[in-house]
Symmetry: C2
Subunit: 387 residues, 2 copies
Amino acid sequence: MAIQQKLSLMIPGPTPVPEKVLEALSRHPIGHRSKEFQDLIESTTKNLQWLHQTQNDVLTITGSGTAAMEAGIISTLNKGDKVICGENGKFGERWVKVAKEFGLEVIKIDSEWGTPLNPEEFKKVLEEDKEKEIKAVILTHSETSTGVINDLETISSYIRKHSRALSIVDCVTSLGACNVPVDEWELDIVASGSQKGYMIPPGLSFVAVSKKAWDAAKQSNLPKFYLNLNSYRKSLENNSNPYTPAVNLVFALEESLKMMREEGLETIFLRHNRHKLAISNAVKALNLKLYADEKYLSPSITAVDTEEIDAEELRKKIKNKYDILLAGGQDHLKSKIFRVGHLGYINDRDIITVISAISSTLLEMGKITSQQAGEALIIASKYLNAN
Amino acid sequence: MAIQQKLSLMIPGPTPVPEKVLEALSRHPIGHRSKEFQDLIESTTKNLQWLHQTQNDVLTITGSGTAAMEAGIISTLNKGDKVICGENGKFGERWVKVAKEFGLEVIKIDSEWGTPLNPEEFKKVLEEDKEKEIKAVILTHSETSTGVINDLETISSYIRKHSRALSIVDCVTSLGACNVPVDEWELDIVASGSQKGYMIPPGLSFVAVSKKAWDAAKQSNLPKFYLNLNSYRKSLENNSNPYTPAVNLVFALEESLKMMREEGLETIFLRHNRHKLAISNAVKALNLKLYADEKYLSPSITAVDTEEIDAEELRKKIKNKYDILLAGGQDHLKSKIFRVGHLGYINDRDIITVISAISSTLLEMGKITSQQAGEALIIASKYLNAN
């Protein structure tokens, strides 16, 4: 098995991991019931609250982002509860499946893949719910499958007005990439995953839980054990975990959160925004189209519509020649789009590198002129130097 | 936060991790949908089958051993199903809780902590079940909380005779420590965890699933998503995972399984047996008692009854002075017993070290004579040299 040792990961996760974090990861494990580990949980929890801009509990689960979202849903709701699910991509679809699996009654608000959810549709359904039968609104902030960011700020304001419904939000590829002020927007459940903006390998996921969500959790009757957030909350009071956590990933988390605090939230968000603008504008100069509505581009992933070019062929050429891994399209988008991840530990060099690799490959394929390749770089530089 | 850098872990998990495995852990992550990762899944799956002595599917879940056991239970059973739960310790208790949470009807077969489950009780209940209403027998092979190993070979033979019931077995601290021939004993669900005999940090767990269990899984109506084994099976056909797995822990797994194959199953089992005999006989020479029935000592953990000595005090002295972490007693056993983990990456030196540390501390406390300390070492050496 040949693991490529100079691989550049530009997929929406796993994202690149800093050396310091890998070093922390490879420390000898310690006991998960020890004072040393409790201290670690205490400090990482504080830093997680900082990252989430919240005073709410932020729980760490050993599992994927899907585990975190499922935990949020099944720990707060009851069988037969009416919920709104926003669906405009593969992850939105997944949360509908989870909700249905657990016997929730789903009101779907969808929009075509590549377009954002319309907040006014949420407003309408929530306003019409005079009996307050809707117990939660489940949606995805940054839709990884399409590169669209949904207007969570506006949608969450309508959920607040409804007052009864909880917001349960997949922020897996938005947290740590753009502003997600959990307290300000009064988000009840916010799920995220380690292999994304956190800059650590996959294996941990996080759930921020509001007081309102904890109140709902007291009544929740859906069956659960490993993913029962109440157990995690109880253990957290003692800076501990109900089940053996991925100790080494917590070492890595401590290190990466320190790096994030050093960089600062605002700087992190500006960096992601700069990279988003550089890539999205550069690909347009290369005869490629943006798959997502340009007013709603995700800060962490750009989906590129290759039109008559086979996106998988392009993606494979770039992997084989330059060892840059891009993501393909999922489901019906396979071969139609490729996706560039620019999430987490990504610097300006990574951005001009991926643009050069795309340009170079398109040049070889005879799809663009050298002038276009040059223009793409000029445009990218302009955005990279903008702030 | 001061992480002790020369810590010796002698708890039942996390267990010590070889340098090679830590090095693998700290590699830069790769894409979990890449060919390279599929190759890794293919090779680790084959080696997992070797470790389990089975042709059955062995699935890898990102989560703890509890997640693996829950997955086995909820993926194969139906609401209201009658199950036998064997309970003679904290983990046995936990599986009763999981079963009840999901609405199963539990027939409990228990025995006092420190004593093994009586196989004849299983035989009786299974034989009396003429209507074949019992759908599963859920039990723990090596009970980590008490250091008792249950007679799984005999119990599983009675389950086979019943023919309808599945065996769902927590082998978390037995797999990779003593013989668990999954195919020979026709075990249907076998759960285990990475931070044990596997010699890698916590974060992965494993479930071996028989054909009979898959047949049952087709009918299963308990709600589940992240822990639905059917999804893992479907993905495994393509050497993949349904959700982003802990990629770096899979790197570590590949390396540790290679080491295990090099050592060989028989040699690994003999090593654990030798260590078990050395420790258990040495502590008896030190005026201490074995908490578990001596005919049913776990291969991986020895629970020591300290009688009039405060076990927590002893444990803390050993930690502070020698930086050896032992496990305390759980629940009502707190301060009454301590537990020595001798599971996974443990060599003969670790065994005489822990015996010396216990002896030395008891000498300082004036609880034993120097002659007893010497005798403990002689006895340990005798067993360490036995094979």
